[in-house]
């Protein structure tokens, strides 16, 4: 039985852990501080279309599948390419034409089930979700509580935007005004209402927690009153409808309010992000061995990593490893740091972007002229071969038992290509599969 050690606790790490476990490997996850998971708006992006302009008609959205293919053509250094080649090779074993898209769709489904975090959406069709600012964002998958809010299906609807007066971060009237400007003619009516005029909240978290508890019944009553007054066909709620009991609240809403309700995407601090963070934590704790602490250094024998050292508070303990998946994220979670030079602080892997390698470089050289352009600086990372194993300038493997997954990989800039969650899941799953020692000739589909 192979033994896979995964460093990191974000979505790429979870995907790798799930896949390696399914392959029968023994899985250990080294879990340091949380990374970017809790910042999630709730949208699970697979691939976006940077060529779309905000003034383009909002009803015609290319599907994530189309965007993936365009993304790989436009950016041959994107990690999707490695996955597409590796997975596409196996098309004969049961995956269809767009092997990567299908692989992603299935992987997302599996993760959602494993986390007991129910999501809706698909790679075949975009989901057009409402933001708290009243704009629309195309994505692939969203949590179940967002499910009724796909604007591609809302034409002719009478929409009621609900806000909470005491929650400073979102304003329903403002969002309604912005949304009216965008889609005004296509929806029958857009109205807004603010509930709980007398209650103030320090943070969205406080409100969400009260929604789990004693504010719930009051909320049903107030919302039912508002719905009776405005007569909407759909109700948009801020993404603060409970932390633990969101699913129960939404099924109760169905009974007490009677019209489909959905949450909008979240700004930070994000409650949907917190829900995802908790679901992932729960999964790791219950399904695999978790070592708490930060991996600080390692020992290698030639090109084989033998041991890593995990520091928890002031204690540092060695951990023997056989196969290692590095999924520590990029700048925010410290997977890569940039001070005087770029550094991958654990294995000191060579870093770069678009096939070039560098450590000390003037940051200005990695910035484009235009502010909103795709700056190579944010795509700097670990470069790998097709099997997601880090390579150096001479195209040699740096370590024979090391795989990399997630945003630490070079070539992806989620803010531009909108592929953050997709990259994490695709590369995480692939790395987990390859690290668990199953050869590429395995069937991908069971």
């Amino acid at each position: 039985m192979s033994h896979v050690t995964i460093i990191g606790s974000g979505m790429a790490a979870v995907a790798a852990a799930l896949e390696a476990k399914e392959q029968g490997a023994q899985v250990t996850v080294v879990r340091g501080k949380p990374g970017a998971t809790a910042l999630s708006s709730g949208a699970w992006d697979i691939a976006g279309n940077p060529l779309r302009h905000p003034s383009d008609p909002w009803q015609s959205i290319p599907s994530p599948l189309e965007n993936i293919e365009q993304l790989i053509r436009r950016n041959p250094h994107h990690p999707y390419r490695a996955v597409a080649e590796e997975v596409g090779n196996l098309a004969q074993f049961g995956l269809g034409q767009s092997a990567l898209g299908e692989f992603l769709g299935r992987s997302v489904e599996k993760i959602s089930q494993a986390l007991s975090y129910r999501i809706v959406g698909s790679v075949q069709q975009s989901f057009l979700a409402l933001t708290p600012l009243g704009t629309l964002k195309a994505t692939a998958f969203v949590p179940k509580s967002y499910g009724a809010g796909n604007f591609l299906t809302l034409q002719g609807a009478r929409l009621l935007l609900v806000g909470f007066r005491g929650l400073a971060s979102v304003s329903a009237p403002m969002a309604a005004a912005v949304l009216k400007k965008k889609v005004g003619g296509d929806l029958a009516e857009i109205q807004s209402v603010e509930l709980f005029p007398d209650l103030a909240f320090n943070s969205p978290f406080e409100l969400a927690q009260k929604m789990d508890g004693n504010l719930q019944e009051f909320f049903y009553g107030e919302l039912a009153k508002a719905v009776k007054k405005f007569g909407p066909t759909h109700v948009a709620l801020p993404p603060v409808i409970g932390v633990e009991s969101t699913a129960q609240i939404f099924s109760r809403l169905q009974e007490t309010v009677g019209v489909p309700c959905f949450e909008t995407l979240a700004l930070t601090p994000s409650i949907p992000g917190l829900r995802l963070h908790k679901a992932m934590e729960q999964f790791l704790r219950s399904q695999v061995t978790v070592v708490e602490g930060e991996a600080t250094r390692f020992e290698a024998d030639g090109r084989t990593i033998k041991r890593i050292f995990v520091r928890n508070k002031d204690k540092e303990e060695p951990l023997d490893v056989s196969q290692v998946v590095l999924a520590t994220g990029k700048y925010l979670s410290g997977g890569i740091s940039k001070t005087a030079s770029f550094e991958e602080p654990l294995f000191h892997l060579p870093l770069g972007v678009t096939g070039k390698y560098f450590a000390k470089i003037y940051t200005g050289k990695l910035l484009a002229d235009l502010f909103l352009a795709d700056h190579p600086l944010f795509s700097v990372g670990v470069q790998t071969n097709r099997s997601l194993q880090p390579i150096n300038e001479q195209n040699e493997l740096v370590y024979e038992n090391l795989w990399a997954a997630g945003s630490i990989l070079a070539g992806t800039n989620p803010a531009i290509d909108h592929s953050g969650m997709g990259t994490a899941i695709a590369t995480g799953t692939l790395a987990g599969r390859l690290a668990s020692g199953k050869l590429a000739s395995m069937r991908w589909v069971s």
């Binding site: 501080k33 809790a38 978290f205 406080e206 932390v243 930070t268 994000s270 917190l274």
Partner: protein, 139 residues
């Protein structure tokens, strides 16, 4: 070198010298003291160099809200450390008008243990408490 340039150099040099000499021999201008006294009612206060360094560390906050959630799970009276988010927008404003009850903070450090960017949250709480005492005691 043109005469204009030379004149400018000499002029600036003379005034630099004058200013430095004044600083040695003249008494300190009461401007800042007057200002602080005048705006005491508005709870505007001074910040030391050390405090300013501390403030710069709070800007690492990415407002993920994890500190709030852990605070609620370990404490019967959660403080909601994400107040930092507002703190960093305008420290003077916040210190004067903080509506939060920070007395329940036990400085257990649970919030710091989950912070992705290592913000010194406990120090921030202590800073606010000290500043509040200072500002409110004076009024």
């Amino acid at each position: 070198m043109s005469a204009k340039y030379l004149y400018a150099q000499v002029f600036l040099g003379y005034h630099l010298l004058l200013r430095l000499l004044r600083r040695i021999f003249q008494k300190k201008s009461p401007g800042l003291k007057n200002f602080v006294a005048y705006y005491r009612d508005n709870k505007i206060t001074k910040f030391s160099r050390h405090e300013k360094e501390l403030m710069s560390q709070w800007t690492r906050c990415i407002s993920c809200g994890l500190c709030d959630s852990i605070c609620a799970s370990v404490s019967a009276y959660p403080v909601g450390p994400s107040f930092l988010q507002r703190l960093i927008r305008s420290v003077p404003d916040f210190v004067g008008n903080a509506a939060l009850d920070l007395d329940h903070c036990q400085s257990c450090g649970a919030c710091e243990s989950v912070c992705p960017t290592n913000v010194p949250i406990v120090q921030a709480v202590q800073f606010i408490q000290n500043k509040e005492n200072e500002v409110f005691a004076a009024t």
